[in-house]
């Protein structure tokens, strides 16, 4: 009956062996997928160039630079006699990451607070939810200038305005998913809290929030990448030059001369989004140590 005996040393060693094999498999998968993507890109390029096919678009070193050229561009000087491209790009990534992180945290906090309020009042949920949904149908490009100019006239720094734009994209998934999580609590568990004459506060923090953590983390994963996108897009209408959005606009203008620079910038953007996602995933793993079948 006591099948929960502590793991013996040999079992532990076996576990560690299994874990190592899992990690190795995962690393091999990543390498394989990258190799396959490289093969696809270069294969496509080679086939279209040798056959001269022009559909759906002409393939040459401008439209599809060699991948090794894109990687090599990181080492090329960004401006004549200037530092290698990787340096300004990393600076820009850092700048955008700051905006995205601030936006992510702000948006997550607002989304969570909204969900808590809506979960406790059906009236507010019915009244406000349609507008919250509607808010996401307004393109961020349309509100960005208003936010940046409006806040700028109050002396708010540009990057803070962009952070607010990122928050605008972030809060929505968090609010919707958290609301769903808070409301999906097991009826028996609620009765149990009721039997203890638990206050709403206790029910919220001891039952509803922990029970909805899996929902919240799904939302945070979505929001993590959305906040990076929001920051990059928000920089453009705000005419902020220091971030990745500024870099994209800049290298877009020189695309016919230096296509690899724009591609290299895209690689950095993707890497930033992936690191945000990974950060949330790691946090989730640390926080949610529960039944294996409950880990999303």
């Amino acid at each position: 009956m006591a099948q929960v005996a502590a793991a013996s040393p040999s079992e532990e060693r076996r576990h560690r062996g299994v874990a190592r094999r899992v990690a190795a498999t995962r690393a091999a998968t990543i390498v394989l997928v990258l190799a396959a993507l490289w093969g696809l890109w270069e294969g496509y390029k080679w086939l279209w160039e040798t056959t001269g096919w022009t559909w759906p678009f002409v393939v040459d070193d401008t439209t599809m630079p060699h991948l090794h050229d894109i990687v090599g561009a990181f080492g090329d000087p960004a401006t004549a006699g200037g530092p290698a491209l990787i340096h300004p790009l990393l600076d820009a990534a850092w700048f955008t990451a700051k905006e995205a992180l601030a936006g992510f945290l702000l948006g997550a906090a607002i989304g969570f607070a909204l969900a808590v309020v809506l979960a406790h009042s059906r009236l507010l949920e019915r009244g406000l939810l349609p507008y919250i949904v509607a808010s996401q149908t307004v393109p961020i490009l349309a509100i960005a200038p208003m936010v940046v100019v409006g806040l700028g006239s109050k002396g708010v720094e540009g990057w803070k305005s962009v952070a607010i734009l990122a928050a605008y994209l972030t809060f929505f998934p968090v609010a919707i998913n958290t609301l769903r999580g808070l409301k999906s609590v097991d009826a028996r568990a609620l009765e149990l809290m009721h039997s203890y004459a638990a206050s709403r506060w206790h029910v919220l923090w001891r039952l509803r929030v922990p029970a909805s953590l899996p929902y919240i983390f799904v939302a945070l994963r979505i929001s993590a990448t959305a906040s990076v996108i929001g920051a990059i897009i928000g920089e453009t209408p705000a005419s902020i030059q220091e971030g990745l959005g500024g870099a994209i606009v800049n290298f877009n203008q020189y695309y016919s001369l230096q296509p690899t620079f724009l591609w290299a910038t895209n690689v950095i953007c993707a890497a930033l989004g992936i690191s945000f996602f990974a950060l949330v995933a790691i946090t989730e793993r640390l926080v949610l140590r529960r039944a294996p079948e409950n880990i999303a």
């Binding site: 929960v4 097991d186 039997s195 203890y196 001891r206 039944a291």
Partner: protein, 269 residues
Amino acid sequence: MTAAPSRVVEIRGLTKSFRTGVTALQEIDLEIEAREFVSLIGPSGCGKSTLLRIIGDLIPATSGTVLVNGKAAHQARLDHDYGIVFQDSVLYDWRTVARNVSLPLEMLRWNRAKRQARVKEMLELVELTGFESNRPWQLSGGMQQRVSIARALSFDPALLLMDEPFGALDEMTRERLNMELLQIWAKAGSTVVFVTHSIPEAVFLSTRVVVMSARPGRIAEVIEVDLPQPRTATTREEPRFFELVTSVREALAAGRGDAARPAAAEDLY
């Protein structure tokens, strides 16, 4: 519990009808004295779980009075006068076994040292010492239900409400937990209201068995169980045990209005 009234539960003229028009309970009168172990048994839909929930103020009565410890059920709930155990253990899987047991104590604002001492004591009571830092899902169904009992008793409630607590367990686990529950009941000195589908379980555990009939739910008969205490494994083999099982079965059949087929109650065994 100083100067506790000896009557723990007092129900007068209790009726419960649902908005659908169904009368779940009609004119229930029931008194339960301190340290009694009372089982509610009856066919599905007889309202035995509803009655338990009304005693616990989890749902309101339509009319009639329910007093727990001489107070309205609502006040008794606010005063933490009862602990409840459901069919599933309802353990929080993000908490360890120890922190599940201490959950009600946190609501009562006990300090950490006091909580830890009580958790240790309760896990000894249900014989789960050593499992403090396990997660609920690492335990078997029977062990989970013992954690749930420890949690319900942790704050020393006068009344323990149990809603088919062993219904989801296999027969062997159920019989072992029956024995353990009686030992816990003897040690903790609480009063128990126990809802069950099982006639032998009701007879084995109880000092009184309340037999209910369905549509509308009423008390058909109350049977005193005069088996000697403490009950042991051999209690189930005594002739008196079988006589009492037979009387409960007959009372159930009479409640259904078909005394001719006493053993045919489809959801009872």
